[in-house]
């Protein structure tokens, strides 16, 4: 607290002072104005096209309304979320325990690391042919792709989380003579949870990216499918962009949701270390 007074004071002379702006309507105005400005530019650019291909914001809103009227918006959103949930959760349920175990036993990490490093950069989309081979075209394929997109990041996050647990915690746990089960429950798990949550948030974002791609190629419902289908069956670019906008908004909401999970008190302690 006292140091904050010092910092506030330094801001007086510090020309690049990061002074706190008042959190009221005044400070919401400039960014909103900027967004409005961008939207207006977009609208003008769209209406001045030689061939009306790219829709303006007004048309896009119309497209969204269209989807709502036909009951498709909810259906597609739910379909996409459904696949993401299954792929993401199954990846988490497998990758996290595996990762924690591998991270714990140094030799296993040494053994497996090169394999992981080679498999990690392979885009989940590169798995499409194999997915179709094993699961055919459909929901399962899409979920498999999402699983592949989430598995390696989560595995590596879990390994990293265990390895970066401060030694002092481990030694304290040993010092107090905890049984292995108690040790995992009372020392290891609380220690890794903050980092795991960050990893889960980032991986959820990846999952959301992959589902769109997976749906473009391998299934026939969902937001990704919407984008491809709207274009193929009639050049409805207003629906295409409407789909993009909705994807963006849901992606943002998922991210914000996970961030608020990070703020839950019992997880927050992890940030004083980071």
């Amino acid at each position: 607290m006292l140091f904050d007074y010092c910092r506030a004071g330094f801001a007086l002379i510090h020309s690049q002072g990061h002074m706190k702006s008042p959190r009221n309507l005044n400070s919401a105005l400039p960014p909103v104005a900027f967004l409005a400005f961008l939207l207006i530019c977009w609208q003008i650019a769209a209406s001045r096209q030689a061939f009306p291909i790219l829709p303006g914001p007004v048309e896009v809103l119309g497209g969204i309304a269209d989807l709502v009227r036909h009951g498709l918006l909810l259906k597609y959103v739910v379909a996409s979320l459904f696949r993401v949930t299954w792929g993401f959760v199954s990846a988490a349920v497998l990758a996290i325990p595996m990762g924690l175990t591998i991270g714990w036993y140094r030799r296993s990490e040494m053994a497996v690391n090169p394999i992981l490093q080679v498999l990690r950069p392979i885009s989940p989309l590169a798995w499409i042919p194999l997915a179709i081979l094993w699961f055919g075209v459909g929901d399962l394929s899409a979920m498999f792709l999402i699983f592949m997109g989430c598995f390696f990041p989560l595995l590596l996050t879990a390994i990293g989380a265990v390895q970066s647990t401060p030694d002092v915690y481990i030694e304290a746990g040993r010092n107090f003579g905890l049984s292995p089960a108690a040790f995992v429950y009372r020392v290891l798990y609380p220690a890794v949870v903050p980092k795991l949550i960050i990893g889960l948030r980032i991986t959820l974002g990846i999952a959301w990216l992959v589902v769109v791609a997976a749906e473009m190629i391998a299934v026939n419902s969902g937001l990704g499918f919407l984008i491809v289908d709207a274009r193929n069956a009639g050049n409805r670019y207003d629906l295409v962009v409407a789909g993009m906008v909705i994807i963006g908004i849901i992606g943002l909401l998922l991210d914000l949701g996970m961030r608020s999970l990070e703020r839950v008190k019992s997880f927050r302690w992890g940030y004083s270390e980071a």
Partner: protein, 259 residues
Amino acid sequence: MGVVTTPPAIGTKLSVDHVHVVFKRDGKTISVLEDINLEVRSGEFICIVGPSGCGKSTLLNTMAGFLAPTSGSVNIDGEAVRGPDPRRILVFQERGVFPWLTVEENIGFGLFRLPRAERDQRIARYVELVRLQGFEKAYPSDLSGGMRQRVQVARALAVNPDVLFLDEPFGALDSITRLLMRGELLRIWEAERNTVIFVTHDIDEAVQLADRVVVMSSRPARIDRVTTIDIPHPRNISSPRYLELRDAIYEQIGLAYTL
């Protein structure tokens, strides 16, 4: 205690005149420094002590020009202090050294206006002064905490400042290193005879180093007392006079000195 009249006394390097510092935060007004008056002579070594909190550092930052006083003024060589200036360099408690530069690049940081030959010469001189020969090309991450502080001091001295401000420079070091660093600082000071203003919360440190010790109260900080340490260097830290002066300060602050 120095009370200021308009023409500064001869030999005065730095004078603090009726300085008040008030912070406004979230609508509340906090008075951090209240009516500080101080005169520092050229070549003097002053220590400012006080309980842990923000007053001492705030005063130091005001004197160095990083903070504008709410009222009153700080004058160096008769000229008002209006901002940070290479004539008065501040040495921070830790992490002040630039980690991406080597030792010699750090020390030469303020010398960018000099021709290359002269710069190299100065760097070599100050490397030697702080006894870091052999480490010129090392990076701060390779050095110990005490060595990094020595780099900071060398960097500060290399630009020949009029006044050297040190903000608890040894606070992050272990007690043995601290003792060694105090000796080093005195040795360097005696070679260069800059005016030094040194903030610490360690009363022993203050009595060991300073010509005069300025004792500050807790917030809102005022100068409670200025004690002259009349023991010549090298000081015997077990001598009766040393203990007498030190205990007087303990008492002033209200600390018991038996445990």
